[in-house]
Subunit: 188 residues, 4 copies
């Protein structure tokens, strides 16, 4: 049976690197893959998965209108489907990924953030946490040395931001991965 | 650092047995524990954690009004806090468990269902999946031999129930743990 | 594909309880199982798997002459094979378990100690750590509250025993599960 | 408590990439790291950790004479110690890594092969499997699509090699990661 995997982490754990390495492993064996990333995320250019460490590869983009089950069914069957920025999936799209595993019998590896800057799961994350066959944490490090599991949003001056949209577009805010204890203290 | 653990599973994986074994391990070493279970669940009598395999032990009960952080802080510090039926926790109570781990430095082991009979996470499960330090799956088995991750509600005649309250009180329905493929087929 | 699972732990983690719960889960679904335990371990009587928490069930015994692949192949195919005291398996018997999973397509769940009182893996443990499809740790607790991963042998007076046979028969020694730090200190 | 982690895999799972990403994560936070790799492995030049996907970074080399505990103790305390090609560690060196975690309180991340071309654990792997606090598998893929856990050695013509030295120096053989079922069939 093919499985739906959710690799979850805070910011800067190396999710895209792990995705690109898994993709590399399949292609190195002569197997084909299909890569998706969120249209909302244009850090690496349109339709690119990029990692801070310097890796990059083209990917199809998904947005709210994408039917991932249909997209995969319409292609020559890949050996693996890989989805970056999976926190931005809708509920229906997570169900599509489950059906790719269950009905098309193709393993699906989804990588994404667990929670937003307020400690609330993203829609895609919530349903992957609920429905994936395998949940695997990727580890980032807090400034204190502990495992970072939360994402603090800070403004241009470095001060914590406690309210606002889940996904900030075009602002000056940035994120700092933190352990829960330091995150809760910063948010208090 | 003490951690908040979430042991999640479908029905009939052995969650209560695992909780009672962990409790036994601590007490065997001369350490004290605190046990909680949901007031909503009176299968084993008021304030009992019971397992199908035949184990049982008294536990404090939590309902929507319980402050778990305060309850633990008011007691002589236990070596471990164990929570059964953790799917019934409220968001605020999961945050209390996180603070028991982070501020009182006491490990918390929470055991609960991942999703309800419609494949939707319970409130307690959702926040534990979002915020726990360690997510560990306990395995149940589907009739097909695959891992069961979903819970089908069936009526007295064995037919799938697809709509209704998340928690059914006093009815004749029961639950069957299933793999996602068979669950989805039964719900379709 | 069926898998070979190795659930490893120190003493007193609850291995036999977990095995008996897994067995219960299968049988509750109307599926048959085959249970094995080591002939060397007669704590629970001949051919019984018993847990400190009070559970027990009959099991076939294996010793150095047992061909586990043949024993399972000769029976009506069970849905699952469960092996307690798996540290006492020989190399050839671990290979037999792998073949039960790979060729007979039956999942095998083996439970055992990781290392002996000197921190050396048992023969069965070594080969299961090397060859099992899934390695899962079961947690015991050290007196300091940390995870216990090692097994200290102590004499009747409670003093650490640092030399002797890997398996002590008929003596007065006993074992204390400890974290590695406290184990190393006690052995120094 | 700092922990000793063993990330084990077959060939070509992406071990070095994962190590370099973990190193990157620490340094990005302004923390220092110490990297070690085996002197036996000069694929990337003397004292380099390189990954097939294109990443590289300098590392100190260890050989049979290296005291890793002393080497780390002599340096300004790093936030993390990372060891590649950990299968080549000696028993004494794995104990040194455990002491770095337990006594110097520095987390140690060791990456290595689980077994050799005959399905036998390497010395470093055996002791890491026996003594590490956390065992985490990294996944490679077999040509059949299943998880590859074994390493088949093949000669220049692609034929399986079933006998020889554990580590082949300067020959023309190479390795193919395989699932256990296909590995056993090839070795038979």
């Amino acid at each position: 049976m093919a499985k739906l995997y959710f690799y979850y982490a805070s910011m800067n754990a190396g999710k895209s690197t792990a995705l690109l390495q898994a993709d590399f492993n399949y292609r190195e064996r002569g197997m084909t893959t299909m890569l998706f990333t969120a249209a909302i995320d244009d850090r690496g250019g349109e339709g690119m998965i990029t990692s801070r460490i310097g890796l990059a590869r083209e990917a199809a983009m998904f947005d709210a209108g994408t039917d991932l089950f249909a997209a995969v069914a319409a292609a020559p069957p890949p050996a693996c489907v890989l989805v970056d920025e999976a926190q931005f999936l809708l509920h229906a799209q997570v169900l599509q990924l489950a059906r790719i595993a269950d009905e098309q019998r193709i393993p699906v590896l989804a990588y994404g953030l667990r929670t937003d800057f307020q400690g609330v799961p993203f829609e895609g994350s919530l349903w992957l946490l609920a429905l994936a066959d395998v949940l695997t944490e990727m580890k980032a490090v807090c400034g204190c040395g502990a495992k970072a599991t939360m994402n603090l949003r800070v403004d241009a001056g470095g001060a914590p931001v406690t309210a606002g949209q889940q996904t900030e577009i075009g602002g000056n805010d940035r994120y700092v991965a933190m352990c829960r204890r330091h995150f809760m203290a910063a948010m208090a």
